[in-house]
Structure formats: C-alpha cells, structure tokens
C-alpha cells in the first residue's frame, strides 16, 4: 500500500488552475520531494492531502485513507507543518508542544523518544514564547508539534523557506533520522540543492507534474553537453553566449554561466574559448560539468514553454 497516492487531482481557484490532473505515488518509508517554484501548486497538494481543501476532481489517499471519506482517520495519522508558521506565538515552546499532544489525546512523555533529538535543542528555550524564537527554532518547534502524536506520514510544506543555511542543513539531517524510523515524509521546497537530499522528487510547474524520478536519474537524463563558463563580467558574457550559434540554452548559475550546446563536439570547449576571447572577455574559463537537478528542471521548463 502506498503511503500517499494522488490520482488525477485537479483544483482551481476561480479561473486559475492550481493543480492539473496530478498523479503521484509515494511509497511507505520514502523521503519524497515536491520541487517547484512559488505558485507551482505545492501548497495546494498539501492542503488536499491534509483534508483542509477539497479537490475539484480526482482522488487521493493518505496511509490508505481517502482524503474525503476518511478525513477523520487521516487527521490522526498525519503530521503537518504548514508553510506559514502556525503555532501559537503567545504560548511558550513547552505549552505549544503540550497543547498539540493533548488535542491528539496523547502526552509529550508518551512520544518523547520520537522528538527527543529535536526537542533537546529547544529545551533551553522551553519557557520562551514561540513568537520570540528565531526562524530555525520555530521550524524545529513546528516539526516537534507535527511529530508529537507519532504520525506515520509527515507532510512538510516548505519547512526550510526563510531559514538560515546551518539550520536548513540540521533540519535535513533530522528528516534523515525520522525516515530511518520508518516515517514517510513528503517535503516541498523551492531549493534545488535540497531536492538532491530526497529519495525521489516530483518536479512541479503551474500545477502540473513535469517528471518524477530519483535525483540521480534526473541529473543523468539531462540530454545536452553542458559547460560552466566563467569570465569577469557576467552580463555581457550571458549576452555573447546566447548569440553563439551552437547555444541551446544559457543561464546564470551561481558565479558561472551554464551553457548547453545543441551538438556535442570534442573541440567545443576550445572553440567557445576562442569565440569569447574574440569578443573581448578575459579571463575565460570553460569546463564541462555534470548536470544538476536545477539544469534538468530548467530544461524541462524550456520544453514546456517554447522559448520566446
């Protein structure tokens, strides 16, 4: 039995489609990522799975329970972290945790082993009001509260958005620990580097699933020869690269430009260097690179919308 299953789920807000015939299957114990930019429909899918929103069409199950028919059963087995911090800011860390344990008819003590690792980091602040915590601490508290009733499926909507790099890393480490305990985790993120930490990811764009695969498979599926190009001035570099006759696509990627070529050729790098030097760029560094998930995603997006 899959832990989460969506079959042809569609949902529109007025005339704006937020989910278009989305079908996904997440196996039990999997760490699954929903990757996509803002507005791709990630939150809509979470709200449908958590029974907060009714889909216009399609069916979905969580832990074998239908989201419409068995909504009550789902509320007992799902741990949900909404994208926006949704705990009581005027209650303390401890009061929040105790409250959510209580409404799930359990106690903090009963399931303490599940949250121990996370809660121990929060313990020094347990009498601080949730509203006065830092972003990273808030996120840990929210995770504790989502876990306190021992859910079998964790649904995390952009848990690391707005959180510093160290806290993000810690958070993903915690997810790994939880996965090791057999909890199914569905997590959404707009960060491509986090996608690589999932077992499988779904790439979403405008309410549609572009592709579902493992991060490795996604990287390897990139069809074009790819080069990282560096020069002193990024903006003219991008312009000249786009004017290069054999360019398939080109975009800024951190401190370098990622360039994909329409044809593979053994001397492609040398010819490109000569072209750029001729345009007055210096110092020019051209190196072949392995595609990242972001490259694959950009390529899939380009296929969706024919370049203007």
């Amino acid at each position: 039995m899959p832990a989460v299953e969506l079959i042809n789920i569609s949902k529109s807000y007025g005339a704006t489609p937020a989910a278009r015939e989305v079908s996904l299957t997440v196996e039990a114990g999997e760490l699954f990522g929903l990757i996509g930019p803002d507005g791709a429909g990630k939150t809509t899918l979470f709200r449908i799975l958590t029974t907060l929103l009714l889909a216009d069409a399609g069916t979905a199950t969580v832990a074998g329970h239908d989201v419409v028919r068995d909504f009550r059963a789902i509320r007992n087995v799902v741990g949900y972290m909404p994208g926006k911090f949704s705990l009581y800011q005027d209650l303390t860390v401890q009061e929040n945790l105790e409250f959510f344990a209580a409404v799930f008819r359990t106690t903090v003590a009963e399931n303490y082993d599940l949250v121990r690792d996370i809660y121990e980091q929060l313990a020094p602040f347990k009498n601080r009001r949730a509203g006065a915590l830092s972003g990273g601490m808030k996120q840990k508290l929210a995770l504790c509260c989502a876990l306190i009733h021992k859910p079998t499926v964790l649904l995390l909507d952009e848990p690391t958005t707005g959180v510093d790099a160290v806290s993000r890393q810690e958070f993903w480490h915690m997810l790994g620990t939880l996965k090791a305990r057999g909890i199914t985790i569905v997590v959404s993120t707009p960060y491509m580097d986090e996608a690589a930490l999932c077992e499988r990811v779904a790439l979403l764009q405008e309410g549609q699933v572009l592709r579902v695969d493992t991060p490795d498979a996604l990287r390897q599926s990139y069809p074009w020869p790819l080069y990282a190009v560096r020069a002193a001035h990024m903006h003219p570099l991008l312009q000249d690269l786009r004017a290069y006759p054999d360019t398939h696509s080109c975009y800024a990627f951190g401190e370098s430009a990622h360039l994909s070529l329409a044809h593979a050729a053994p001397d492609a790098a040398a010819r490109l260097t000569a072209y750029l030097t001729g345009k007055g760029h210096a110092p020019v560094v051209v190196a072949p690179v392995a595609a990242t998930i972001e490259d694959t995603f950009m390529d899939l997006l380009a296929q969706q919308q024919p370049a203007a």
Partner: protein, 372 residues
Amino acid sequence: MRIVWFLIEKEVRQLRRNRTLLALLLVAPLIQLVLLSFAANYEIENLTLTVVDQDHSPAARRLIDKFQYTPYFQLTRVRPSSAAAEQDLLADHADLVLVIPPRFERDLVHGGAARVQLLVNGLDNVKAGLASSYAAGVVQAYQDELRPATVQAAVAVRGGLEVVPAYWYNPRLNYKTFMVPGILVEIISLIVMMVATLNIVREKEIGTIEQLNVTPIRKWQFILGKLLPFWVAGLYQFSIGLLLARFLFHVPMVGSVPLLYGIMSVYLLVPLGLGLLISSVSNTQQQALFVAFFFLIIFVLLCGLFTPTEYMPAWARALDAINPLLYIIDIGRRILLKGSTLRDVLRPVLILLGMAGAVNTLAVWRYRKTSG
C-alpha cells in the same frame, strides 16, 4: 470533554498574556457601567426661566418664588411682555417662559380659575417634556397650598376629580433604578460579543487555525472551547455589575437573584454564539467587526433602553422580536424591581433559550475545517 478542557486552558493562557483584552474584559465594563449610569441622567436641573409678570400681585410673586425654590429652574430674565419673552426663546436664552396675566390674583381669589401660560422651547423634546412636567408640578403644588385658604370649600362642594399618578415598582421614578440593570446587560453583551467575534477569525488571520484543523478536534469541541471562557467572563462582569448596582446605585432587588443568574447564563450564550458564528464565516477581523457592529447597533438602539419600544412603528417592534437584548433587559427589570418569578418570565426565557440553541448550532455547523 478532556479536549474541551485543554482548549479552554489554552484560551485562558492566551487571554492572560493579552493585557489589553484582559483589561477590556475585566475592568472596562465596570468603568462603563459607572460612567454611563451617572451620565444617562433623565433629571435636568437649572432650566433657564423667563418670567412675564403682568399682574404684579403678591399671589404672582409667590408663584414665581415657588419656581425659584426648586433646583429645576433658574430665573434668568424678567420681561414686560410675552413678545419680549418669545425673543428669549428664539435666542435660546430661555428653556421655559412663565406668563402671569393681569388680574391673576383677582381671578384666583374670586373665581378660583386663574390661568398662567407656559411657553416651552421644544428644540430638545426630552428637555421640553421634562420642563413642562416640572412646571406643571410647581403650579400644582402652588395650587394645593392655596386651596385650604381659598378654594378648598369650592372643591369640596363640586366634588372635583383629580388624577394622582402612582408609579408602582419604582415609586419615585428613579431613573437609575430603571437604567442601571439595562445598561449593565447592554455593556456585557457588547463586550462578550466583540471578543467572541474577533476570536476565531483571529486564528484564521494568524494561521493557527491551519494547524488546529488537521488535529482530531471536533467542531463542537472547538466552539465550546471558545465559548466557555468568555461565558465565565460575562458572568463575572455580571456579578460585579450587580454588586455595583446594589451598593453604589441602590437598585432594589426585589426578586430572586439566583433566578436572574440562571437566566443571564442562558442569555450570554446568545451574543457569544452569534459572535462565534460571525467569526467562523468571516475571513478577516475587519469583516467580522463590521458585521458584529451591524447587529449590535440594531440590538442596542431597539432594545427599549433609550427609546421606549412602544413609540416605535409596528415593523420595528416586529423586528425586535429577535432582539435578545430587549428580552433580557425586560426580564432583568421584572425580576429586580417587580419580583417576578420564573413563571412570570417563562416566555421570554424560552425565547432566549431557543435563540441560544439556534446561534450556537449554526456556529458549530458553519465552522469549517475544510475549504474549497
């Protein structure tokens, strides 16, 4: 029920940390009660009086003195003619003009039927009504004094008819006796309905409802957890308010106070439930507040406290059939001033019970854990 208890505990914790709201709930209604009760005064003193004395007799003099000896009138001007006095009325220099015509004393002594004329400034109709009734009282007292000496015999012979009003249950028509219980329930209704109205929608605005809605909390548990803390706050306000009414305003308490408590505890569920209903269908606090205002203003202005409902057109009175404030103010007065028993007020109590059931059922039903 255990879940409801945890919800209440959470609500009370949040309340304790919200100093403004706490002060609003615990102290503000009492301050308002004291202020409004002293301010809502239907006794007017120092009405300005212009006198036109065309008789210049000792009898006329005594009548004028009589006016001056009351705290209600202040003789500010003496004019030779009615025409001059009317100018005072027009210029707002006089609330009342007393015209004593020539031959006033002579008519009084000989015929026993002397006339005086009262001209009242009708700009403020409440004030005008009071001025003319006070003045009539003064003239009446003057007449009573004269009677033994002059007209008593005549009256005895003719068997004159006189209407003597007696105000039962509030013999001296003390406005405080009448107003304080009404003002108290009105203030409590306003405050509890406001806090209830802002409560659920606040959780929506902040987003905490999103987390709460994925828990197994049942809808009725959620609503009950919101209702009970403010219900207790309302009863607390009522208790302190009753003490103030008793010891500060000396409102008589003829009937059963426990009965009044019982009815009040049913009544409070109406504004609270209505507030929660509005809150659960609104998306923002602003929306909720305006909808609540819409109802509150109608309730307050049509509750009979400031304008007797008998003066209202039939349609307004028909509309008032669903005004909970009207019923509770009426019940309160009946029990406190008249000593009515449950049997006497059974009908309005049943109506309130029905309303409480209806709005709270609606609130539970309309509160949605799922959207779309």
